[in-house]
Amino acid sequence: MNSRAHLLFDQVSFGYPPFDKTNELRQLVLHNLSFSVQPGQFVSLVGPSGSGKSTIFRLITGIEKPLQGKIYFPVWFKDGPEIETVHQPKVGYMPQQDLLLPWRTALDNALLPLELRGVARKEALGQVQSLFDECGLAGTETLYPHQMSGGMRQRVSFLRAVVASGTLTGPPLILLDEPFSALDAITRIAMQEWLLEQWTKRKQTILLITHDVDEALFLSDRILVIEEQPVTQLTEIEVPLDRPRHLSDLEKREIVQLKYALLTKLKTKVKT
């Protein structure tokens, strides 16, 4: 199983340094945590706030380094043998707030990851332009972030993550950190459907942080639930739904039961 994983946490421990900087006193956030994500899967990470979801993302993007254990990004080949790599891959990260650079147009924001890699502008334009059309963003290229709606900004932010994850060696890995939590309910549903459409088209591996149980059920193949502090394991739930999915699927009896089971699980973990 693990050898075909796109992302693999192997006995990872992590904690943020306290003020006196001695490792022994670190408040561990993750302790010997292992889990994996298969290529092309849509996986949601659910847990109460402050439970370490964002920390897991910071470790994947390399902003933080594990105290112990390793994070693997195995290269995945369709027919050949699997090769493990430990190097930092190109990961597309879409943060909670869109975090577009306000002084750049939508197009220049989307180009940024390529620009940082030294790709010539002309070549970069060729790659990014077609994505604008595919993502339903044609015509917004010259707009500045403040001229766009919240949903549009999130699409550009997603597009930028897709560009950042661009790699020839395997399916891209995209991390979404509560991407729709700042949007109103109707826009959120539209964006979720849009995201599913984009994912179906490209088959990226997507890891989504959310605290919205409905969102996790609607979008993902698997849900990983954080239940304890520090995190030593993730409870795994397969979502028993076929694709393509419809909003009405959430009304199915087994899904409703699953939802309440999940909510009950999470509710007891909330520190009040």
Partner: protein, 248 residues
């Protein structure tokens, strides 16, 4: 965009004040003490050659040299403080303390050190403008959103990328605000410097006319000084609106 009508109130009020001044001065009728606006304009016209071709360039060169030094040195110091917490702890308090010194009281010292050359006046101008420019740039750089920096790091950004693509653009709104303060202060600085010792310049000319009890000729260069400040301000605003067009 603002409409011209937005300024109607300001224009009307200024006209009213000028009318009261004009009327008062005519009634008082002591033009060496209180010249009327129309007398000042007439004197400005009579003195146009010496004012525009001798004293205006002298003052303008002080203002621009002083501003250039403040932007250059202030930029370097702001960068230094941004990258080194030690430097910021060392220099920031001194920078604030330097503002508590009455600069006008220091100005005679500069005349003592630099003589009647342009540099004594430039020194006063720099003392006036260095603080807002440095603090504006430094605060601007520090206002950089850490989340943006981290996001770019996940894309593999190098240090220079973080500076040129995030920190520098983030600092520009602050920088332009402080530059607008600085350009108006620079004119005051130059005039104060000239007042204390110079052979040319609008401040110097104004003071010389005072000794000759020529009230209108005292005011005429002051009008020009105000015009310089306003024009410089508008130029900075224009550049700002071009550079920061993403904010509009």
């Amino acid at each position: 965009m603002k409409k011209i009508g937005d300024y109607a109130g300001a224009v009307a009020f200024i006209l009213l004040l000028l009318a009261i001044w004009e009327g008062g001065a005519r009634v008082y009728d002591q033009s060496y003490l209180l010249p009327s606006p129309s007398q000042i304009l007439v004197r400005l016209w009579e003195l146009k050659e010496v004012l525009f071709f001798s004293h205006l360039p002298a003052t303008l060169s002080i203002v621009l040299t002083g501003l250039a030094i403040s932007i250059g040195a202030g930029g370097i110091l702001a960068l230094f403080m941004y990258y080194s917490p030690f430097a910021s702890k060392t220099f920031y308090p001194l920078l604030v303390a330097s503002q508590t010194i009455p600069i006008i009281a220091l100005a005679p010292l500069f005349v003592l050190w630099f003589g009647y050359s342009i540099w004594s006046k430039v020194a006063v101008t720099v003392l006036f403008t260095f603080f807002p420019i440095t603090v504006g740039l430094y605060d601007g750089l520090r206002s950089t959103d850490r989340r943006l920096t981290e996001l770019l790091q996940t894309m593999g950004a190098k240090k220079r990328h973080l500076f040129f693509k995030v920190a520098l653009p983030s600092s520009l709104p602050h920088f332009f605000s402080s530059l607008k303060v600085a350009v108006t202060l620079s004119v005051i600085g130059a005039a104060v410097g000239e007042w204390l010792g110079a052979q040319a310049g609008l401040g110097y000319f104004s003071r010389r006319m005072m000794t000759q009890f020529d009230g209108a000729a005292v005011f005429a260069p002051i009008v020009l000084l105000a015009v310089i400040a306003i024009v410089l301000f508008l130029i900075v605003k224009l550049i700002e609106s071009i550079v920061l067009k993403w904010r509009l």
